[in-house]
């Protein structure tokens, strides 16, 4: 067999490179058991247990529990993908020299970043479909603001992704793994992502300023009451700015 190696260099068009990168990252994530657990299995369990549990314990909100929980679990899903998954994969990409290798390929760093963002949005779309379907099966009856939902998902992704990259950029891969999971658990338990910040009593005034609380409340406002929660979205925007600033200052590609 004969392969001619005669030089014929050239970069693929940027959109094609970004699409290839996004699909590759998405495919790898779907193949990774832990990532899938984080992206789909845990949110679905939280949703089912939450809805059933509040019924069994006879806890009531202003709205039906599935209407309260589903937007919260969607917010949790955004957080798990944009923050925890992104931090862990990026941490290990650095460790395995993937980012370094891509650094000498025609894919520019902006293209790599764009590929990552597209991959995140693709995964989130999948999560929305799965969690939404489970919610519907449990009787979810949303009154959605599409603009509000869209803005909450996009700004939530921006805030958590920039913070996730910050963690992945300053810590070693193992430390990133530990920190990203720990922060995820803490925010899931006490960050007002699944349960409204008003349910936290006095603490609610604090947690609504966290990206988790802001995203959770914004999703609930958008999907329960058809409103755009501008103040929460502003909080997310500020977190995204902080995260981007920190990442730009500290991130090392290798």
């Amino acid at each position: 067999m004969n392969t001619s190696f005669a030089p014929r260099p050239g970069a693929a068009p940027l959109p094609r490179m970004i699409a290839a990168q996004a699909l590759m990252e998405t495919r790898l994530m779907m193949r990774n058991g832990e990532q899938l657990l984080l992206a789909v299995v845990i949110p679905v369990i939280v949703l089912v247990v939450g809805v059933r549990g509040t019924k069994a314990l006879d806890i009531t909100f202003q709205h039906s529990s599935v209407d309260v929980f589903t937007p919260g679990v969607l917010a949790l899903a955004v957080m798990s993908t944009a923050f925890t998954s992104l931090a862990i994969t990026t941490g290990f990409e650095r460790r395995y020299g993937v980012i370094k290798r891509l650094g000498s390929s025609p894919l520019p760093r902006s293209g790599l970043l764009a590929g990552k963002v597209c991959s995140l949005l693709l995964v989130e779309l999948g999560q929305l479909v799965v969690i939404g379907s489970v919610g519907m099966a449990l009787g979810w009856d949303p009154d959605p603001s599409l603009v509000g939902t869209f803005l909450a998902v996009v700004l939530g992704t921006a805030a958590f992704a920039s913070l996730g990259l910050f963690v992945a950029g300053v810590l070693r891969a193992e430390a990133t793994l530990a920190a990203a999971n720990l922060i995820y658990l803490l925010l899931m338990a006490g960050g007002a992502v699944i349960i409204p910040s008003v349910a936290y009593g006095a603490l609610g005034n604090l947690v609504r300023w966290l990206p988790s609380g802001a995203l959770g409340d914004a999703m609930r406002d958008a999907l329960i009451r058809d409103t755009i929660a501008w103040s929460n979205l502003l909080v997310l925007l500020v977190w995204a700015a902080i995260g981007t600033f920190l990442t730009a200052r500290t991130f090392r590609w290798e």
Partner: protein
């Protein structure tokens, strides 16, 4: 194409001709990888100038990168990715990539199947790394220790591949600490040690010692009975004043010096004259190992 940079590499200056294989040879920690990474635009030289294909690897990075192929010393793939999947991904980043299946077959990557990258053998990871460097059809391939961790068969296969690249018009720059690799492949060898260039030339020039003052041939004589007294001196007289004769033990000695067609005949004549029976008489060039030892006083492979 010129390099010239600092840090681990100090005042290094060398040029690579197009469509040749250039070997940067040196022990571990000599600055080989740093030199390569400076050409690849990973590092910005604090001093000096680097030009690759006439471009500045840092300033003109976007323009340069599609034209070079890079093989890192290790890593460079996702831990869970399959070999062919990774290669296909790299191909998608280029405008006119090689046929991925053919290249994979050529480098024996199909045997990797669906094994994730982290579980591939060292040799398989190396071959994937090489394939990734070539798939975009670069003008220059920078390959860092291309055969480290390969078995002898894979190593020979890789050498043939690199020679084929040169024949196709690709410029190859490789680092190695294997003598025979540099000797067999390279049109030009740059020996570096502690970040400095200590010798440059073809394998023949370096081992002949045209660069230095070193003698050309090494002849080892082993005899069946101990040499008579005064043997080294009388042999030296027989061979000429520039020759050095070193007694290794009572039955073997080493002759170093300029050699010509008559040298071996003279030695065998001397044996006849002194009634010693040669058991073996071997003539050999200096190896690059000897060259390195002589230039630095240290072993290359140490």
């Amino acid at each position: 194409m010129r390099y010239g940079d600092k840090v681990a590499v100090d005042g290094l200056s060398l040029t690579v001709e197009r469509e040749t294989i250039t070997a940067v040879l040196g022990p571990n920690g000599a600055g080989k990888t740093t030199t390569l990474e400076t050409c690849e635009g990973y590092r910005r030289p604090q001093q000096g100038m680097v030009r690759v294909l006439g471009l500045d690897p840092v300033r003109d990075r976007r323009e340069l990168l599609p034209r070079i192929g890079v093989m890192l010393q290790d890593g460079g793939a996702w831990s869970g990715v399959r070999a062919m999947e990774m290669l296909r991904h790299m191909a998608r980043l280029h405008a006119h990539p090689l046929d991925v299946d053919q290249l994979g077959e050529r480098l024996g990557l199909e045997e990797c199947g669906s094994t994730p990258y982290r579980r591939l053998s060292g040799g398989q990871q190396q071959r994937l790394g090489l394939a990734m460097a070539l798939v975009g059809r670069p003008e220059i391939a920078f390959v860092d220790e291309p055969t480290a961790g390969m078995d002898p068969k894979a190593r020979r296969g890789t050498w043939e591949l690199l020679e084929e690249l040169r024949a196709s018009g690709v410029t190859v720059v490789l680092t190695t600490h294997y003598m025979e690799e540099a000797e067999r492949l390279a049109d030009r060898i740059h020996i570096i040690d502690r970040g400095r260039l200590i010798a440059t030339g073809t394998a023949l020039e370096l081992t002949r010692g045209t660069a230095g003052r070193q003698p050309a041939a090494t002849i080892r004589l082993v005899v069946s009975r101990p040499f008579p007294p005064g043997a080294p001196e009388s042999l030296r007289r027989a061979l000429g004043e520039q020759t050095e004769v070193t007694l290794l033990d009572e039955v073997s000695l080493l002759v170093t010096g300029p050699a010509d067609a008559s040298t071996l005949a003279n030695i065998s004549g001397w044996c006849q004259e002194h009634g010693v029976l040669p058991e073996s008489l071997t003539l050999g060039q200096r190896t690059l190992e000897d060259v390195f030892l002589q230039l630095t006083g240290r072993e290359l492979s140490a």
